[in-house]
Amino acid sequence: MLPLPSFSLLAPDRLDDVLAPLGQPGVRLLAGGTDLLPSMKHRLFKPATLLSLSRVPELARIEPTEDGGLRIGAMATLLGVRQDARVRAGWPALASACATVATRTIQAMGTLGGNVMLDTRCLYYNQPAGWRASIGGCLKAEGSVCHVAPRGTGCYAAQSSDTVPSLMLYEAELELLSRRGSRRLALSELFSADGRDGPRIERDELLRAVILPPPGAVVLHRKVRPRGAIDYGMLLVAVRRQGDGGSAVISALGPAPVSVRVEQLGDLAQAAWKASNPLSTHSWSSTWRKHMVRIEVARAVAELTTPRLAIAHG
């Protein structure tokens, strides 16, 4: 078996004890571990200390907000979110997005917070250490050349969270906590333009909860992946109807999700297609992935405007 590098594990049961070491060099947060631990085996991260959140019960709570929205603790599992009756009734696209993550066993370990904060992914990055050595490393890991765009200067690793597109269209906010206090950040503000940079929060900040505004938004989520389970998306689409118009979030094509908004719902597919520029971060062709943007958005729009389904989702 691929050995996991050595590290020390801290598992405090009080939020204050989590915040204290956060931001110190070599310390990394451990939520469900379903992405972090395989990446550590690949030697993508070598943290000296893992700071586990699993013993802080309040982080896993799902509770209504005063205005009729929902506050989902960052440590709520994807399976828990998927099965929550309130989520299913008020924000069904989020439940269906959670259901598309990997497999049920991984949904039972993986958390919503971990999924939102998921590291960007690339065919040339998420590989074992020896493999990366054979290509001289990549820009995001230990190398100096991007194998996706060898002449470029940036990293194009793709934001691949299954829950982000629908959360963005539900206008979700993040509740961030540090020793300095608490603040809110719109989810759409989280993402960096370069795949190396990671989520745009401070090093000492903890994602405490995802806040959903009151229900009402009509959103659909679609995932394109090679197989019916396990795989990360090679295209993620969420579509929202807003009067005659609508919006779409297209993800898994680059470091940050792309949002588009149109006045006429019929224009959404073309607008989304125009705004998409996938690169070869995935083993399936980028030409086909771009082709699929138009089709997936068009099909989501058709589903949203079918009267029967509009009622079901509304």
Partner: protein, 827 residues
């Protein structure tokens, strides 16, 4: 010299050559004619045969075991409860762990290896490099081109270069990172074109000839050119079949431990313990009797565990060197580099057909990317061509196949070894030609079949032949005949397709020259009534242990649960050649039947004498031996027989008969029997996205005789599943020699959501030489899956796909070409 003289002489020479060629063609045609008139009996020479005198073919099972369903495998419970012990489960006192450092370059000379830093680490016990184990070995003794660790050159990314043995696995891994290797890069050979180019560097420069061609096989039967010229329709097409790999659930692992008197015990996750035993002996310079080789439970192989790997040799070497047990377990990534999977194969096929659908001639060429070492590549080069004349009557056949060296991980035997690729080409080609002639492809197949007891143009002997039944049953079960007339409109197009295939039941010749049996069994009966069968067979999950128990139980009239099978332990079991070429049921099954027959005759003699009846009047069934109103229960039978004959034991052997072929060159391909399959696939093509969904596959397989229906159906389902993977998803892809998919996240095998509903149909043809008439069912059923899907896609959308896997992008491209073509035709 006069110029006209010169021309005359040239003309005369050309004439002589032409006459000679014509004479040879006429002779070959006459021979082919003759061959067709010969029957299976004419070419069978029983003088070399060892095995049961009576295979009980075609007779109803009297013991009630053969063919009975609803019975678990004898080792099934241990597998599902986690009690089964795999190599990596073995933990021995003082056991050390070995890891290898692998090459990051596809082709490079090793200038130096500095192991000082690694050796100096606390807990590191030994570091081994290639020159410590310089003896070359190979899966096939005629080409020994491999060493445990790279000697002076690396030939693929992932090739083992140095090995560290340490007190823990992690330490061994860390120490590997401290080994400093200096390489001098060499230009890599990464394509079929480059491998064929004599000016490119030779990957095995020590071989005297051949450049990067491992083996080229050329065979010609009948007069292909004349037959093509006289055909109503000739179609020529190129195909390319991708490289794919086995993905066994269990990664390769070996444990070795020194034992008394300088002996060594090696536990290895292998399909071919006997061949490995020979290889270890050779590389370690030991006596075969000094190594005890044990195959513990194995978590699947599919051909990927036929070779001897670095883990086997290094654990054995280190255990000997250090005097303590050593384990080497591969990581998943390493299994991808160990590979030995499907050869990426480029093919060219030209076929003639007459208006009545009769196939007139096949001209076929194949070039296979074999990677850096030969593995079973010599055999592959033959298998690419020799099975083509099965199961359709064909008088004129020519093939040329070339197995090449490249700087990719070594390809080798994967389920349906070498036969999968040409079968895909042939079955798609056949559909295409039938449709071009306005004929129903399923009928064309049915009308071209050999009858039982036939000889193919290249000298293969067909005995039992159940394909007509298979075709009829899949057509019926799938509703093929009604559905083939339907055509959808709109973006979602449903289609149905059919394909047929044939495969062998064990290679007629072992990989080394020997007159010893291919399979041996020893039976022993304890006074308690418990029967122990000692067999060299290697169960890798396919159920060979249960097969042995089933055959023995049937013949002795007891239940399989009364039988303990001890397998694949060289100190305890007679030799069996291994789990390859779909040989085990046929060959080990016959050895088991042979041993059981011998044992039974003793038991029956004792009982008949006591009853005062003739031995043939004794009925052995359900643990009771009876004649008329007299009966003895099993334990009493044993007591009686032991009192009469002494300790009860029996041996059984199998060695196939000699099958005379007039073709001396035909040493690879012949088998004592062939299995046959017909499949129907039903798919939907989404013409907007190019996504193909395979809904159902009906697979009817002629396995001769059903020994255990659930295991047989499981094998068929597994074959179809693997075929669906190769048709839709799987491809071992490279970029500059780097495999881009060395993980089970990136190398995608179908999940349950991607697997169609599989309807396995068991067809019996009662082979005259198989045990109880049985033939193989573990590889053959995969051969027709991919072409059936391709043909269904054509039926749905009118596109011929020649290059699996059928990814949405390829499908979309073909759809665009179709639309352009249709537009051109319309104007």
């Amino acid at each position: 010299m006069d110029r006209s003289d010169d021309l005359d002489r040239k003309a005369a020479m050309e004439k002589r050559v032409a006459e000679r060629l014509a004479a040879r063609a006429a002779k070959e045609a006459a021979q082919a004619q003759q061959a067709e008139e010969r029957t299976a009996a004419d070419v069978t020479d029983p003088s070399t045969y060892m095995g049961p005198a009576d295979t009980r073919s075609g007779q109803p099972a009297e013991g009630g075991v053969v063919g009975a369903g609803g019975r678990g495998k004898i080792d099934g419970l241990a597998k599902i409860t986690g009690r089964a012990i795999f190599a990596d489960d073995l933990k021995l006192p003082r056991m050390a762990h070995a890891k290898v450092l692998r090459s990051p370059h596809p082709h490079a000379r090793i200038v130096s290896i500095d192991t000082h830093e690694a050796l100096a680490m606390e807990g590191v016990l030994a570091v081994v490099v290639g020159t410590d184990l310089p003896t070359r070995h190979g899966a096939i003794p005629v080409v020994m081109d491999e060493t445990a660790l790279a000697l002076d050159k690396v030939r693929y990314i992932g090739e083992p270069v140095a090995c560290v043995c340490a007190t823990s696995e992690e330490l061994a891994w860390l120490a590997c990172q401290r080994i400093n290797v200096v390489y001098e890069l060499l230009p890599p050979v990464l394509t079929i074109e480059d491998a064929l180019d004599a000016d490119k560097p030779a990957i095995h420069e020590w071989r005297r000839k051949g450049g990067n061609v491992l083996r080229k096989v050329d065979q010609s039967y009948g007069d292909v050119d004349a037959a093509l010229a006289g055909s109503d329709l000739v179609l020529e097409e190129s195909y390319e079949y991708p490289a794919s790999t086995h993905v066994p659930l269990e990664a390769h692992c070996a444990v070795a431990a020194p034992s008394d008197e300088g002996r060594l015990t090696v536990w290895s996750s292998t399909q071919n313990p006997h061949y490995m035993h020979r290889t270890l002996t050779r590389v370690l310079g030991m006596e075969q009797a000094s190594i005890r080789l044990i195959k513990p439970d194995v978590g699947a192989g599919y051909g990927g565990k036929c070779d001897t790997f670095c883990s086997d040799i290094l654990s054995a070497h280190l255990a000997r060197l250090l005097g303590r047990p050593v384990k080497m377990a591969m990581e998943r990534e390493e299994v991808f580099y160990a590979h030995r999977g499907r050869h990426r194969t480029r093919m060219w096929l030209k076929m003639g057909m007459n208006k009545d659908g009769r196939i007139t001639a096949i001209d076929f060429k194949a070039w296979a990317d074999g990677g850096a070492y030969s593995s079973y590549g010599v055999v592959t080069s033959y298998y690419l061509g020799v099975f083509m004349p099965l199961p359709y009557r064909l008088d004129n056949y020519r093939f040329e196949s070339t197995r090449l060296y490249t700087n990719h991980p070594p390809a080798g035997p994967k389920r349906g070894h070498g036969a999968i690729q040409p079968r895909f080409a042939l079955e798609v080609h056949l559909d295409r030609m039938a449709r071009a002639l306005g004929l129903e492809p399923a009928d064309v197949r049915a009308n071209n079949l050999f009858p039982p007891d036939s000889i193919t143009v290249n000298g293969l002997r067909i005995t039992s032949m159940g394909l007509p039944d298979c075709l009829a049953q899949v057509r019926e079960a799938s509703g093929y005949d009604e559905k083939v007339g339907l055509q959808d409109s709109g973006p979602f197009k449903r289609g149905i397709g059919l394909a047929a295939s044939a495969y062998m039941c064990g290679a007629l010749h072992p990989i080394y020259q020997t007159d010893t049996p291919h399979s041996g069994i020893q039976l022993k009966i304890d006074r308690s009534g418990r029967v122990t069968a000692f067999t060299g067979t290697a169960d890798c999950g396919q159920g060979s242990n249960h097969m042995v128990a089933c055959v023995v139980a049937e013949r002795l009239g007891i239940q399989p649960e009364m039988i303990t099978v001890i397998e694949a332990d060289s100190d305890l079991c007679p030799v069996d050649l291994g789990s390859y070429s779909s040989r085990v049921t046929f060959m080990a099954g016959n050895a088991a039947l042979h041993a059981a027959e011998t044992m039974r005759s003793r038991l029956v003699t004792a009982v008949a004498d006591k009853f005062g009846v003739q031995p043939e009047d004794v009925l052995c069934c359900d643990g009771q031996y009876s004649a008329g109103d007299q009966a003895l229960k099993w334990t009493d039978v044993i007591e009686l027989a032991e009192s009469r004959f002494g300790t009860l034991g029996a041996t059984g052997s199998y060695r196939p008969p000699k099958i005379g072929s007039r073709f001396r060159r035909q040493s690879v391909g012949p088998s004592p029997a062939y299995s046959f399959t017909a499949q129907v696939a039903e798919v939907t093509v989404d013409e907007e996205t190019g996504i193909v969904t395979v809904h159902d596959i009906w697979a009817a397989h002629d396995l001769g005789r059903v020994l255990h229906p659930e295991i047989a159906m499981g094998q068929i389902e597994g074959c179809v599943y693997m075929g669906v993977g190769e048709a839709m998803l799987e491809e071992q892809r490279y970029r500059d020699g780097v495999m881009t998919t060395p993980s089970i996240l990136e190398y995608r095998i179908p999940t349950v959501y991607d697997t169609p509903e599989i309807h396995a149909i068991l067809v019996e043809s009662h082979d005259p030489e198989g045990p109880f008439g049985a033939k193989e069912c573990g590889e053959g059923p995969q051969l027709s899956t991919v072409p059936a899907i391709a043909n269904a896609i054509f039926h749905a959308s009118g596109i011929w796909l020649t290059h699996p896997p059928f990814t949405p992008e390829k499908v979309l491209r073909a759809l665009r070409q179709r639309d352009l073509q249709r537009a051109r035709e319309a104007t």
